[in-house]
Symmetry: C2
Subunit: 242 residues, 2 copies
DNA sequence: TCGCTCAACTGGTATAGACCAGCTTGACGA
DNA sequence: TCGTCAAGCTGGTCTATACCAGTTGAGCGA
């Protein structure tokens, strides 16, 4: 939208380094998913120390232009995925539609009991049975989110026996004849902490977006509650109303 | 949602400092808007250096639990404002409804011409007249967002002559008989840069949320495009669909 | 050819200082 | 009483260095 106007040498050194890297990204000499030179080399190139180079890199990371892969290096962020949480598209479908390659790992399926927090969100009673499904999703080989999905076994009997590496939405429709209505979506930016950070393979404190969706069927019966922990630079949310 | 399980001394020092501060915030001994001891004093208390203390503080800032006021110190973040961008509530009304005190500053009103970027968003033609309104909004005295509002003077003649410190939404309804339909909302987390960062009074690189809304009236005529730059810890987005 | 080991690299964490710029506060003077 | 100004505080930026932990890739041996 708007670009910083300042190019003065009055700006702090780390922001001048940021500006030079940013313009290389914009002009395309650093393509998406390209790995940058190491912090030590960058520091030397710009005649400064690693601490200052890291400030510049961290600034670009906060802006969503760079990401890091644990102890492997810094990379140029690919474009954000357009994500419409109000729609029922499957992850695979809309990632594919945007020319990217989706993958899904199931991290675990755990039958458990409804906690007070879950009860408040879903309308179920504390102690009711619930099934927790944890998945990790990748785009072009990069993990971009993990999700906790709480499924209502009353509405979805034997749900834990299916294969969750395919589209859950298609599963619900085909096997349980569920048509989702009412959906409440909440989201806010926050930092990723463990266990989500290590599931995604990023440092604790990496910026993220927390998204939660509570879905009910046409009768108002609770079907599933979804908690998603996204990397902050991986998505752009889009919602149409009216 | 989920809390870190680790309390082992194996964790990095800056995360152990983070944990101690975080539990003080949770148990309430550090109330919202309380100022923390200075970085130098915290470093001494925890037997470490300022750099490490700053790592812990920055981590809590990323999580949305602390915020800083330029060269004044670190403060405990108040609860997030529940924000429903799909609704037409006025900022003042929903801030007040949540027991907080809203304020609005008008930063400027500028007639200008539609840029290519704006043309793509609005459907207007490049070079058409448009009015840019820039405002800053505060909650309990803390600036939490700045916004650029692009108003269509064809639909809203003489719009630049009104007082913008009151609700724009009420103004449109009362003076122009506008009833907004169709609304396209997009948002993504990013870092705040100048000029938004200095308008809000935070350091360049502070985490933010970019929200844009494009509104049309019942005839599909473009009314206004809104770009909002929020502090990331100030809000929680809520959208209901179907 | 295949698998393993290990050295060299990466970023992650941490110390110990330094100086600068903006804010706050209190003493002082009009 | 009120405004001014300077001292002392705050965080913001920066240097120089050190060691640790996970990744990578080259080279060796079976």
């Amino acid at each position: 939208m708007q670009e910083r106007e300042c190019g003065e040498s009055a700006a702090p050194l780390y922001l001048r380094v940021r500006d030079q890297l940013a313009s290389q990204i914009e002009e395309g000499s650093l393509a998406p998913n390209t790995r940058l030179p190491s912090e030590r080399i960058l520091a030397e190139e710009y005649g400064t120390t690693r601490v200052t180079a890291r400030l510049a890199l961290a600034q670009l990371e906060r802006e969503g232009r760079l990401f890091r892969s644990n102890r492997r290096g810094w990379f140029v962020s690919p474009p954000r995925l357009i994500y419409k949480p109000a729609h029922d598209y499957s992850f695979s479908d809309y990632v594919t539609a945007q020319g990217r390659a989706p993958e899904t790992d199931t991290l675990g399926v755990t039958p458990m009991e409804v906690s007070p927090w879950l009860a408040a969100k879903t309308g179920l009673s504390v102690g009711d049975p619930i099934v927790l499904l944890r998945r990790r999703r990748l785009i072009d080989g990069r993990p971009v989110l993990v999700e906790n999905i709480y499924l209502n076994p009353k509405r979805l009997p034997n749900i834990e026996t299916y294969d969750f590496n395919r589209s859950l939405w298609k599963l619900l429709r085909e096997k349980y004849d569920v048509e989702l209505r009412q959906k409440r979506i909440e989201m806010y930016p926050t930092a990723l902490v463990d266990p989500q950070a290590s599931d995604i393979g990023v440092t604790v404190g990496t910026a993220g977006l927390y998204v939660t969706r509570c879905s009910r069927d046409a009768d108002g019966c609770f079907v599933e509650l979804d908690e998603e922990f996204w990397l902050h630079d991986a998505l752009s949310i889009q919602v149409d109303v009216d």
